[in-house]
């Protein structure tokens, strides 16, 4: 005698109306999730302006009061009214040396404009002699600041060079690059920022 086991009765299929509602709600959920992702990503892109991350973005720039290698005092707050490009540099750093001709081109082009940006270089962990010799050999007559104790570096959160920042005429940070820049790239960013207004 063999026991015949009846297979369990299959669950009855949900009525078509209920199935349709489930599909509709699932599709709506996916659509809303996609829309949220699109909005978040598009805003992150437009808000970042291709700048590197920094909590100082759109905030007042840290104080920069140092002495140039020529022995002149420099105070960033005295430069309000002009766009200022701050470059963090070291003569021992190959990407910085490679970037220098681009900064020269940029500075020369900006000097010919009425509202051209001012360039300033900040040096840490380098000797005054090395820096002076470098600028004599490679050119560049903009202010070069010595930051021997790294006060300016820490206040901007800079740990590696080269870095380039753009400060607007109101003294607010508008851009940070943590890689080498080119004259064309820097000019494009600056023009875009000028279009957005200070």
């Amino acid at each position: 005698m063999v026991d015949v086991v009846e297979p369990p009765a299959a669950d009855p299929a949900p009525p078509p109306a209920r199935r349709g509602r489930t599909v509709l709600f699932t599709a709506l959920g996916v659509a809303v999730a996609l829309a949220v992702l699109v909005v978040v990503f598009s805003q992150a892109r437009s808000g970042s302006r291709d700048t590197a991350k920094t909590p100082l973005l759109d905030q007042p720039a840290p104080a920069v009061r140092e002495t140039t290698i020529a022995g002149q005092p420099f105070d960033l707050s005295q430069r309000k009214g002009s766009w200022v490009v701050v470059n963090f540099f070291g003569t021992w750093c190959p990407p910085c040396v490679q970037e220098h001709p681009e900064l020269l081109r940029f500075a020369t082009a900006q000097a010919q404009q009425l509202d051209g940006a001012e360039l300033v270089t900040v040096v840490n962990n380098d000797t005054v002699e090395n820096v002076r010799d470098f600028f004599t050999d490679h050119g560049g007559n903009w202010p070069v600041l010595q930051d021997p104790n790294g006060e300016v570096y820490v206040s901007f959160g800079v740990s590696k060079v080269p870095e380039t920042w753009i400060i607007d005429p109101n003294g607010y940070v508008r851009f940070r690059s943590i890689a080498s820049v080119t004259a064309d790239g820097l000019t494009a960013v600056l023009n875009r920022l000028k279009g957005e207004g200070p």
Binding site: T54, P55, L56, N124, G150, E151, V154, G157, S159, K160
Partner: protein, 157 residues
């Protein structure tokens, strides 16, 4: 009665534990020199360009800059928390704090483990107590009513 006798011991242990925890969490560590404070803060901040090294241990220039900044701020009278917060803020994109702050949402990192331990200890205490109160093999009310119903059934015959 024996439970009551054990209570003072448990109570004493709880008071001693609470006292040690309070002292450990709030002690100022006595007067410290500025150099000791600089070192202590530097040990809690990660070198921004190294792996698993504090700015205290690291020889990198970026770490030296941060140590100098800590020393400057200690000299101006800022608190340890303010200095750590400043450094963390400036290097926010890199997350330099090796020890989470004890304020705000970050304080949960400190509070939650204590809460979990206390809850777990409480849960264990309740579980042990239940095991003692209801030993295995005891007669439950359900058992008694079952037997009673069986007896009544037999008495009827």
């Amino acid at each position: 009665m024996s439970v009551l006798k054990r209570w003072p011991g448990w109570l004493l242990m709880a008071v001693v534990l609470a006292a040690f925890l309070t002292i450990g969490a709030t002690r100022a560590g006595g007067a410290r020199s500025n150099a000791e404070r600089v070192d202590a803060i530097a040990k809690t901040i990660k070198c921004p360009i190294c792996r698993s090294e504090s700015v205290y241990d690291s020889k990198a220039q970026a770490s030296q800059n941060i140590r100098d900044e800590i020393a400057r701020q200690v000299a101006t009278g800022r608190t340890d928390g303010e200095i750590r917060s400043y450094i963390n803020d400036r290097f926010q994109d890199q997350g330099l704090l090796l020890v989470p702050p004890k304020t705000g949402i970050d304080s949960l990192v400190w509070v939650l483990p204590v809460v979990v331990v206390v809850l777990a200890a409480g849960g264990l205490a309740v579980a042990f107590r239940r095991w003692r109160v209801a030993p295995a093999g005891g007669v439950s009310e359900d058992d008694r009513s079952l037997v009673e119903a069986y007896r009544r059934g037999h008495d009827d015959h």
